[in-house]
Symmetry: C2
Subunit: 200 residues, 2 copies
DNA sequence: GTCTATACATCGATAGAC
DNA sequence: GTCTATCGATGTATAGAC
């Protein structure tokens, strides 16, 4: 009893960490496959091969393929949250909105598969779990206050801001992923939206 | 020789028409399946069953599933072109832009699967053929002149207009297909873009 | 935890008879 | 043109040895 308890206490954490590290390795390999074959083109057999195990062994770490996508969704949003929180936002709220949005767009253009999983509905049947979705909300939450402080206090203003940025980003990714034909208008449109809030 | 030639001349058209009618029936059935199971959820077996033939027989009419998608892409764009060309556009160019865009959005919201095939990259590996793509360009071409006449003559203005409308439409479809939380801002944003052209 | 082996379902696509 | 039969790939999942 005492030995079992001691073992449970002493080894629970390292084991969990080792497992977590393996999950992370699998997710990292999955991102690589996604970049190569598209987010929907991940095959569990390829993924298992990439991490040096056999396909059924993946089920030790994920209950289903959707659970893998959910882990990737959470992972991608954690990356975004880290990027956003590392930003040194200027005091001027209007400029802060622009800096925030620029970082969001840079993140989006960096990895198209990641963008599709996080911000589009590209996987048939996949819906993020509530826990993962909470991460997605956390990434965007700072923008709410910034937009309001910049003078666009109507909820519709935030809707427009996000939709406009998504529209520019989507056109950029779809038609010219390495150029700036669409996103070069971002700052100007942000100014327009702030200067002409929906409330007036 | 003469009989063969006569048969070729006399029957070539009816045969082609019968075949064309069958292709149209298959495409129509495919749209119905897409509405029920999503654009990527069309199975060739279900599609064959819907038109009363067996799955391999579809290959008499389409070389591949992508060829079916291409036919659907062309068909959807022909529907859009017809809708656009049937519009009675007002003389005032700014109002004409709004009427055009309203029709485009109504068309988009009418059938989400059609929207995804025509305006998003939702089918892995599918790229429209040049002929089909020409139809897509034809649907949007009238907007070029309207936007210019309305006072937004810079090419970037048209890019912005399309991207903004797509952003609003996409948010609407993704989050609330039957509501108007995003698209209710359309006219206001069109005015904004026209009043503050990129050239000034 | 990991493996082999296997089952069962789906799918797009092809060969060849009629 | 249409069919039957089949191929090879996929994803999902399980049983049972080690």
């Amino acid at each position: 009893m005492r030995a079992r308890s001691a073992r449970g206490v002493r080894r629970a954490e390292p084991i969990a960490l080792r497992r977590e590290a393996k999950v992370e390795a699998i997710v990292a390999a999955a991102w690589e496959l996604a970049r190569a074959h598209g987010i929907a083109g991940i095959s569990l057999r390829d993924l298992a091969r990439a991490v040096g195990i056999k396909q059924p062994s993946l089920y030790v770490y994920f209950d289903s393929k959707d659970a893998l996508y959910d882990e990737m969704f959470a992972d991608g949003n954690r990356q975004l949250v880290a990027r956003i929180e590392a930003l040194d936002l200027p005091a001027d709220p209007r400029l802060a909105v622009k800096v925030f949005i620029r970082e969001w767009i840079a993140f989006a253009l960096e990895d198209i598969s990641r963008y599709q999983l996080l911000f589009q509905r590209h996987i048939p049947g996949f819906t993020p779990s509530p826990e993962s979705y909470a991460l997605a909300e956390r990434a965007l939450r700072p923008l709410i206050g910034l937009v309001r402080d910049a003078g666009a206090a109507d909820p519709g203003d935030l809707d427009c801001m996000i939709a406009v940025v998504a529209g520019l980003t989507d056109a950029q990714i779809s038609n010219d992923p390495t150029g700036d034909r669409w996103i070069r208008h971002t700052d100007r449109l942000i100014d327009l939206l702030i200067d002409h809030t929906n409330q007036e």
